[in-house]
């Protein structure tokens, strides 16, 4: 068993599968607790590092998806 962090988005709970830091911004990759097919990416707000907001554009989605493959010792299985 392992401990995973849970974040609630729009009244639904998600597991943080992975977190990647890029230029001071944290990108988190979320998987629905009740529905593993419900996946999304969020990023930390520049004003509040504990507040996570939607990505702003398709270009940012692309950047985040590339970051998924970046090695991250903290969260990699």
């Amino acid at each position: 068993m392992r401990d995973v962090e849970v974040m609630t988005v729009d009244q639904k709970d998600y597991i943080i599968m992975k977190e990647v830091m890029e230029n001071g911004t944290s990108f988190v990759f979320l998987s629905g607790v009740d529905n593993p097919d419900d996946v999304m990416i969020r990023k930390s707000s520049p004003q509040d590092p504990y507040l996570y907001i939607p990505l702003e554009s398709e270009e940012e989605v692309h950047l985040a998806t590339l970051l998924f493959f970046k090695q991250n010792e903290k969260n990699d299985a």
Partner: protein, 199 residues
């Protein structure tokens, strides 16, 4: 189901996954994170989710095309190679499993769509996977790349494919392939015995 129908279904699935992930990631309300809020999860469930997420992400980026067009063209060959080897191949393979047992387990449990993506990942590191792909409906790695339009010279260079196919551990992969082949042959013999085919 014919080849065209299979490809059509796969293409449809790719588009749907990409659109779903992008739309979901760009909508909704801000959320406050609490690092102390945890739950327990089995390692197996976590790994399964990570694989599923990796597949979704891979599709959303257009997999290698996304990497190539967005980043690698701007890099030197040395850096591009480093990125593929370190940031892409290794992390993807680590998510899927890095022991022959884990990979075999994944291949057994994965659906056809995921299994083919897995084989694509593995092909990045091993020409030997081409032999495995012969047993899928793609027939070969070339056909797999063609099916995803990664053989288009405008999108993809032969140098890039060469880079992708360069790998240092082909002997290890070949060994794994041999092991899988032996297991497959053993299974076939067992099936033949079970169903009265063996003499």
């Amino acid at each position: 189901m014919g080849e065209d129908e299979k490809q059509e279904l796969l293409d449809k699935e790719l588009v749907e996954i990409e659109a779903k992930l992008a739309a979901r990631s760009m909508s909704g309300s801000p959320s406050r994170r609490n690092p102390n809020r945890k739950m327990k999860m089995t390692y197996r469930d976590y790994r399964k989710r990570l694989i599923a997420f990796g597949v979704s992400i891979s599709v959303a980026t257009g997999l290698l095309i996304g990497l190539y067009n967005s980043h690698i063209r701007k890099m030197s060959d040395e850096n591009a190679l480093k990125m593929i080897r370190n940031d892409f191949k290794e992390s993807v393979m680590a998510n899927i499993g890095d022991s022959p047992e884990e990979r075999a387990d994944y291949l057994r449990s994965a659906g056809e769509f995921n299994r083919n993506l897995y084989l694509m990942y593995d092909a990045i590191g091993s020409k030997a996977t081409n032999d495995v792909l012969e047993h899928t409906y793609y027939g070969s790695l070339d056909e797999y790349l063609k099916a995803h339009h990664w053989d288009n010279p405008n999108e993809w260079s032969s140098d890039m494919l060469t880079i992708l196919l360069v790998q240092s551990d082909i002997n290890q992969k070949q060994s794994e392939l041999n092991q899988m082949t032996e297991e497959h042959q053993t299974d076939m013999k067992a099936d033949a015995t079970t169903y009265g085919g063996a003499k």
